[in-house]
């Protein structure tokens, strides 16, 4: 890498050199400096929605010092940038952002834990009525469904305070494969799904999928449509795909012997 592609910045007094295009948050992670995040996930591009990862930045340009607050997850590093991740101002504004998030999702465990750390008062603001969901509209589930799984089973509807993540037109949709990637990326556990006998029921998206029974042991293991999708994506004999992971492992074990 050439020198011009490297930026040296300082985070909480520690120097670090990063490739151009890296973000401040990535730099902090490398240095082992913790910055709280909610809408950040390593598998997806950063979005800067939740604003919890704000930090104080300053830079000297043409003899003048500029300083401002910005979200570290999306801020690209530039030479000479000085970052402070835990100043009183940052803590004060993070506290307020937490209070705002709690007005939307008062029961979220992760938010309540952070609230203790930042001394946030969850009753300072009136509730922004959100039903009983803990959704903070971080956008990870929509992104993972559309851009990583390429299912496009969910999207956002309405705007502003009325914004919601819903299945298209909020009715039963047929593109969901039940991969549950949305649940795995959701920071607040806002998506509800459960196994009901032979079905997978993802209530939040109005989806009910029939589970495929393992061809060996007969136990329902994955939704049928999910296995169908896997067929196109992995190089594995169909016969193996139709076995549950447990039985599949047995087959492998035998073949290794």
């Amino acid at each position: 890498m050439e020198e011009k592609d490297i930026c040296t910045i300082k985070i909480d007094g520690k120097k670090i050199s990063l490739a151009k295009g890296s973000t401040v948050l990535e730099g902090a992670k490398m240095l082992g400096i913790f910055i709280p995040t909610l809408c950040y996930h390593e598998a997806l591009p950063p979005r800067g929605n939740c604003r919890l990862c704000i930090v104080e930045m300053s830079i000297v340009k043409r003899g003048r010092t500029y300083s401002w607050i910005d979200a570290s997850c999306v801020y690209p590093v530039e030479d000479g940038l000085i970052v402070q991740t835990d100043t009183p101002k940052v803590r004060r504004e993070r506290k307020l952002i937490l209070e705002l998030l709690l007005s939307r999702a008062p029961d979220s465990d992760v938010l309540n834990k952070l609230a203790v750390e930042y001394d946030a008062d969850k009753n300072r603001f009136v509730s922004s009525d959100n039903g009983d969901s803990n959704c903070i509209l971080c956008g990870l589930c929509v992104d993972v469904c559309n851009n990583l799984m390429h299912s496009s089973g969910i999207g956002t509807a309405f705007r502003g305070i009325n914004k919601k993540v819903v299945s298209p037109f909020n009715i039963t949709q047929e593109v969901c494969t039940g991969c549950l990637a949305c649940i795995s990326v959701c920071p607040t556990g806002a998506i509800k799904a459960r196994f009901e006998g032979e079905n997978l029921n993802i209530e939040t998206w109005n989806v009910k999928l029939k589970m495929l029974k393992c061809h060996s042991c007969g136990k329902p293991f994955y939704p049928g449509v999910y296995v169908d999708m896997l067929k196109d994506k992995v190089t594995m004999a169909e016969e193996l795909l139709k076995k549950c992971p447990e039985c599949r492992r047995k087959v492998f074990r035998l073949s290794v012997k």
Partner: protein
């Protein structure tokens, strides 16, 4: 099929034709049919006239000349004289006026002014001025104005490329394509000091230069016509009155930047503007003024129209580009500027309607002349829509640097009904309120910013003593709550909580600590919002807190609304000495909340009264007061 315009001679022929259209050898009546004109009944006037005239008289339409208060208006051209503008027309007035016009007379009834040589510059023949009729520059509304972007609006037929050329149009593009290198074009615009008229006030030439320098092909130019501020309609009027000016401006910009394709993003709520643009683009293509090899050069450029669905956030550059791409109109972080990676991740120059409309004029007058208009830091003119509690509601284009006071009292004619001026909101919902003590402030980008407001796209809402500033802040914040896209927490949740607190105060439930909470919340929203909508959303709150703190205190501490607007804090009462027991209020009250008999002063039953104010409006004796 029309002949393509290739040579200077072609353009001169078109120019001649245009002049002949503007000053024909027959009597010509041009009805001002902008959206504002139509709303005041211009279409009706058009049909009445159409049914009563024969083919000897030409009937055309034109855009709005700016004085919307006095619409419907008709420009009457009688051969030999400069056109005369008639205003406040209705059926009755037409009965007297129309026969006179047909006879070639120009009576004084309903006459507003005569356009003249100053209006038409050097274009066209020298004609006679009518005695007894005020000239345009003598009318107080127009006296201080300097028209560049609105030069043709209300004067030419917006659908006629001939008339636009007749006013000098397309000569700038010809000059640019034939004589100037792209870098030179950018140099002229940079040198002129033109700053973006859409809100931010960024130097247009520098924006173009960065876009030109950015790697990546093709480059795009976009015109932002997604004007969503309450009470603002500058862009609409420019489009409806002079669409070719925007097309020419964009083509000049595209040549400078090196772009083959442009987009105009216009809101669907402007049906007439959309229609006008479609027609203009079709016309320009037929004449070869858009498309392949414009003026026979190697430069090819075309423009597409995209309609916005009415989201305020889509006026933000990145959200606008996402919307054109067919995605959800949400902004993204702009650490990489749109001039480097914008529409379809290509270098993109976005300017608003008024900025593009200034370009042909800058080329034709030269940057030196342009710089003479306005102030050092803000050159040129700015269009404002002056609305609210003001005599002359309308659209004004003023040289930068004249004072707010001049706009409101000299051009705008002051506050109606002898009321006292209280504040003026500039810069749309995310601008701020300027109080009376700052009225002598010159209007330019930097001064407005210093006062806690901003230029914005140019809305100016005038408020009188009957306006409650807490209620105003609440109104603008409620607009932003509705229009926030909901992407980032600070804006989505923060503005909603601002609204709740303001609402609580106007309902008399305010607590003393609410002011500190408003300030704390505002600070965080400004610091941490993702885009400019959020970053400026607390401006109405902060500016009213700064200049009208006493009103907040009155609401919170005394539970009183000094302007008597907030329903929860007022009460209607009948003054027994003034009441003649006429019974009008009793009959009008929709809730039967007024009791009384003949000859006995009436009374308002508190429990039933919903404070709708109908009695207050209807009482002929001013016997009802708000306390």
């Amino acid at each position: 099929m029309k002949t393509k315009i290739v040579t200077k001679e072609d353009l001169d022929i078109l120019n001649n034709e245009g002049i002949h259209h503007i000053f024909p050898d027959k009597i010509k009546l041009s009805i001002q049919m902008g959206t504002c004109g139509k709303a005041s009944g211009a279409e009706r006037i058009y049909h009445i006239i159409k049914n009563k005239i024969n083919t000897d008289i030409l009937l055309t339409s034109t855009g709005c000349i700016g004085l919307c208060e006095k619409e419907p208006m008709v420009n009457v051209f009688v051969p030999g004289y400069y056109p005369v503008v008639y205003c406040d027309l209705d059926e009755e007035a037409l009965e007297e006026l129309l026969p006179a016009w047909i006879q070639g007379e120009l009576p004084e009834k309903n006459c507003l002014m005569q356009l003249n040589r100053t209006t038409f510059n050097t274009n066209g023949p020298i004609l006679k001025v009518k005695e007894n009729i005020p000239q345009m520059e003598e009318v107080s509304f127009f006296k201080l104005q300097k028209k560049i972007a609105l030069q043709n609006s209300g004067i030419i037929d917006p659908f006629s490329v001939e008339e636009y050329t007749g006013r000098g149009g397309y000569y700038s593009l010809y000059h640019v394509l034939k004589d100037l290198a792209p870098e030179k074009v950018i140099e002229i615009i940079t040198d002129s000091g033109l700053r973006g008229r859409g809100g931010g006030g960024f130097l247009t030439g520098r924006k173009w230069q960065s876009c030109r320098n950015a790697p990546g092909e093709p480059k795009y130019v976009i015109c932002n016509a997604d004007e969503g501020d309450p009470g603002a309609y500058m862009d609409r009027t420019v489009i409806e009155g002079d669409p070719f000016r925007i097309l020419e401006g964009m083509a000049i910009g595209a040549y400078g930047i090196g772009s083959p394709e442009g987009y105009i993003y216009v809101r669907t709520e402007y049906p007439l503007a959309v229609e006008t643009l479609h027609k203009a683009i079709r016309e320009a293509r037929e004449y070869g003024l858009l498309g392949e090899h414009i003026f026979g050069t190697d430069f090819s450029f075309d423009i597409n129209i995209r309609r916005g669905g009415g989201a305020f956030i889509c006026g933000e550059s990145t959200a606008l580009m996402a919307s054109i791409e067919g995605k959800v109109g949400e902004p993204r972080v702009k650490h990489i500027h749109t001039v480097v990676s914008g529409f379809r991740e290509k270098p993109t120059t976005l300017n608003n309607v008024e900025t593009w409309a200034n370009i042909p004029a800058i080329i034709s007058m030269g940057s030196e002349e342009f710089k003479k208009i306005g102030t050092k830091g803000s050159t040129g003119t700015k269009v404002f829509s002056v609305v609210g509690k003001i005599m002359n509601n309308g659209l004004v284009e003023i040289p930068m640097g004249i004072t707010v006071k001049e706009i409101i009292f000299d051009i705008g004619g002051g506050i109606p009904f002898g009321k006292k001026f209280k504040a003026v909101q500039t810069g749309g919902p995310s601008g701020g309120c300027i109080p009376e003590k700052l009225l002598d402030m010159p209007v330019d980008f930097d001064e407005l910013k210093k006062a806690g407001s901003m230029m914005g796209s140019g809305g100016m809402i005038i408020m009188d003593e009957d306006t409650c500033m807490v209620d105003v802040a609440r109104y603008f914040v409620s607009f932003l709550v509705q229009e926030s896209c909901g992407k980032c927490t600070s804006c989505r949740e923060g503005t909603y909580q601002l609204f709740n607190i303001l609402n609580r105060i106007t309902e008399g439930q305010g607590k003393e600590e609410d002011i500190t909470l408003l300030e704390e919340l505002s600070e965080t929203i400004i610091d941490t919002s993702l885009c400019a909508l959020g970053k400026t959303a607390p401006n109405p709150v902060l500016s009213t807190l700064k200049y009208f703190r006493d009103e907040y205190d009155a609401h919170i501490k005394e539970k009183k609304c000094p302007a008597r607007v907030c329903k929860a804090l007022i009460e209607y009462r009948i003054i027994p000495e003034k009441c003649t027991a006429c019974g009008k209020c009793r009959k009008a009250c929709p809730y039967n909340a007024i009791a009384g008999e003949k000859k006995v002063p009436h009374q308002i039953i508190k429990d039933k009264c919903v404070k709708c104010g109908i009695c207050f409006e209807i009482c002929p004796f001013d016997a009802i007061t708000k306390v």
